[in-house]
C-alpha cells in the first residue's frame, strides 16, 4: 500500500468525563483508510468502536472530550475544522449508518423526506429533483415499489427495509467514505447477508471507502480487506484480513477467531471469550488483556505494549506474539 490514504486516524484519544470518573473509551487508536477499500474494525461490545466513529464525525456529546490525536481527511485535519466546515463534510463526504434502523430514522417524517433532506442541503437541487433522486436511490437499494415507499413513514417498513432506506440516505450525496456501525447486528441472519451483499455491491459501484464496524468476525471475513482489532480502547492488531485470519499475531484476535461458530462442526455451543470486557473507568494495569489472556506472563502486568510491525503491513500490540506460532485456531 503506497497510495495516499483518504483518511488517517492518528493516536486518537476520546475520554468521557462522567460522575463516576474518566471513561477512556478511545485511548490511542490509529489506522489508515485507502480509496475504495473496506477496513473492518472489530472488537467486543464496549471496546470503543462506536466512539471512534463518532469522534471522526465529531458527533460526540458534551461529556466527551477529544484528548488528543488527529483525523486527516484528504489533507484536512477534521478535529481542527470549525463546526460549519465540519457540517459540509458530514453526510456529503463522510456518511454514516447506525446499528438500529428501528430508532435511527425519525418516526414523524417520511422516508423520502429524510433522504431528500441531505440531497437538498448538500447538492442544492430543487425539491422535485431531490425526490426523483430519492426514488432512484430506494430502487437501487432494493426497496420494491419505491414510488410508494418514498411517502411512507419508518414504522410502515420492516427492519431490513429500514436499513436499506438508511443506506439510501447515507449514499444520497455519493460520499467518499461510508462508516457503517454494526449495520446488520439488529437484523436476522438472512437479511443480514442480503444487506452486506448490497453494501459490497454499492461500494464497488460508487468506488467509496468503507469502514465496517462489527463485533462479528464473520462479517469481517465477508466484507473487509483489512482489519483493525480493538480491545479496551486500543487497536491491538492491524493487518490484512488474510494475514489476520490465517496468522493472528495477538492472543485477543486468536480468541475472537476461536469464538466464530464453525460451519463444519455440528451442534457446537456458541463460544465467547472467557472473562468480561474490562471496566473503562478502571482498566487493568499493563497489557489490558492480561486478565483474560491464555498466554499471559507475570511481566504482562507491567508493560504497556505498543503496536509493532511484525511483517509488512501487519502490526500487533503483543510483544509475545511468537507464542501463537503453530497454534491452530480452535
Amino acid at each position: 500500500m503506497n497510495r495516499e490514504p483518504i483518511l488517517q486516524v492518528k493516536d486518537l484519544k476520546t475520554y468521557f468525563y462522567t460522575e463516576d470518573g474518566i471513561v477512556k473509551a478511545v485511548d490511542g487508536v490509529s489506522f489508515e483508510l485507502y480509496q475504495g477499500e473496506t477496513l473492518g474494525i472489530v472488537g467486543e461490545s464496549g471496546s470503543g468502536k462506536s466512539v471512534t466513529s463518532l469522534t471522526i464525525m465529531r458527533l460526540l456529546d458534551e461529556k466527551a472530550r477529544i484528548e488528543g490525536g488527529e483525523v486527516i481527511f484528504k489533507g484536512k485535519e477534521l478535529l481542527k475544522l470549525s463546526e460549519e466546515e465540519m457540517r459540509k463534510i458530514r453526510g456529503n463526504d463522510i456518511a454514516m449508518i447506525f446499528q438500529e434502523p428501528m430508532v435511527a430514522l425519525n418516526p414523524v417524517y417520511t422516508i423520502g423526506d429524510q433522504i431528500m433532506e441531505a440531497i437538498i442541503l448538500h447538492q442544492k437541487v430543487k425539491e422535485s429533483e431531490a425526490r426523483k433522486i430519492a426514488i432512484d436511490l430506494l430502487r437501487k437499494v432494493g426497496i420494491p415499489e419505491p414510488e410508494k415507499r418514498v411517502d411512507q413513514y419508518p414504522h410502515q417498513l420492516s427492519g431490513g427495509m429500514r436499513q436499506r432506506a438508511m443506506i439510501a440516505m447515507a449514499l444520497s450525496c455519493r460520499p467518499q467514505i461510508l462508516i457503517a456501525d454494526e449495520p446488520t447486528t439488529a437484523l436476522d441472519v438472512t437479511i443480514q447477508a442480503q444487506i452486506l451483499e448490497l453494501m459490497k455491491e454499492l461500494q464497488r459501484e460508487y468506488g467509496m471507502a468503507l469502514i465496517m464496524i462489527t463485533h462479528d468476525m464473520g462479517v469481517i471475513a465477508e466484507t473487509a480487506d483489512r482489519v483493525a482489532v480493538m480491545y479496551a480502547g486500543k487497536v491491538v492488531e492491524y493487518g490484512t484480513v488474510d494475514e489476520i485470519f490465517k496468522k493472528p499475531k495477538h492472543p485477543y484476535t486468536y480468541a475472537l477467531l476461536s469464538s466464530i461458530p464453525r460451519l463444519d462442526v455440528e451442534k457446537q455451543e456458541l463460544k465467547s471469550i472467557p472473562g468480561t470486557v474490562p471496566d473503562p473507568l478502571n482498566f487493568p494495569p499493563g497489557c489490558r488483556f492480561h486478565p483474560r489472556c491464555d498466554f499471559a506472563k507475570e511481566e504482562c502486568k507491567n508493560i504497556d505494549p505498543e503496536l509493532v510491525e511484525v511483517s509488512p503491513g501487519h502490526y500487533t500490540a503483543c510483544p509475545f506474539y511468537k507464542v501463537l506460532e503453530g497454534v491452530e485456531v480452535k
Binding site: M57, R90, G91, F98, V103, L105, L121, H122, Y153
Partner: protein, 345 residues
Amino acid sequence: MTAYIIRRLLILPLILLGVTFIIFGMMQLLGPDKLLAAYVNPNVFDKLSDEELEALKDKYGLNDPLVVRYGKWLNGVLHGDLGWSVVGKTYVSDALMQRIPHTAELALYAIFPVVGVGIWLGIKAAVNRDKFIDHAIRIFAVIGWSFPDFVFGLFVLMIFYSMLGWLPPGNFSNWVEDIIKSSDFHYITHILSLDALLNGRFDIFWDVIRHLIGPIITISWLWWAYLLRITRSSMLEVLNKEYIRTARAKGLDEKVVINKHAKRNALIPVTTVGGAMIINLFAGTVIVEVIFNRVGLGSFVAQAATQLDYAAIMGGALFYSSILVIGNLIIDILYATIDPRIRLG
C-alpha cells in the same frame, strides 16, 4: 387523516350521550320534589297547592317511568331547555349563554401564556441543558409549581391591586358598563375585548385587558410551570435519540436538528398533557372568577352550588362535560397530525 377524523367524529355523539346518562342519573338522586323546583320559577312554586304540584309533576313527566323521563329530558336538553335557575333568575340556558363569553375570554387568553411561555421556555431550557439559562428557567418553574393558584391569585390582588392599584378586580370599570349597555355598542363576537376593538373603543379594550391580566396570570401560573417541566424533559429525551444523531450525521444545521427533528417528536407527549390542561383552564376559571370577583360561568356555578340551584348546577355540568369531550377530540386530532404512527396505525 380524514378517515381518522371521521372515525373520531362518529364516536362523539356516543360519548356525549354517555355524559347525559350520568348527569340525568345524578339528577334522579334528588327525587321528584326537588326536581320540580328546578323546572319552575320559585316565586310561582311557593304558592302552588298540592294538587297543582301533582299536576305540574305530571306535566313535567316526573311520575313517568325512568326511560320516558330520560327521553323527555334529553329532548328538552336538545332544544336548549335546561330548566329555571334560582340564582340566575332566568332560564338556565340564558344564564349560561350570558356568562360563557366572559369565561371563554379568560380561558382563551390564558392559553397563550401557558402554551407559548411553557413550551417555549421548556425547549430553551432543554437545548441549553445545565447552562445558566436552564437553571434560571427551572428555578422559575419550581417557584410556580410550589404555589397553589388561589394563593398566587390572592398575592396578585394584594400586590397589584391593594398596593399598586394597577390591576383591579371585576370584569371592567363602572364607566364601561353604561357604554356597553347602550345601543351604540355593537356585539359581534360577545368576547368583550374583541368587540371593543371592533367598535373602535380602544379605551374599553384597554380597561378590559387590565381587568384580565391578574386572572390570566393566576390561571396560567401553575399550568405553564407544569408544561415547561414536561416539555423540558420530553425534549431532553428526544435529543438523546438516535434519529437526532442521524440528522446531525447528515450535516444538518443544529437549528434544523432542533426545530425540525427534535421539536415535533418532543411535542407528542406535551400535546396530551397540554391539551388536558387547556380543557382544565375552564375548570380553573371557577376559583379565579371568585377571587377576582368576576362575572362568568365559574363564579355562577360556584354560587349555584352554595344555593343548591340544581338546574344551574346540572346545566353547568353538561356544559363543562361537553367542553371536555370536544376538547379531547381536538387534542386527539392534533396528536394524530403530529404523529403518523397514531394516524396510520
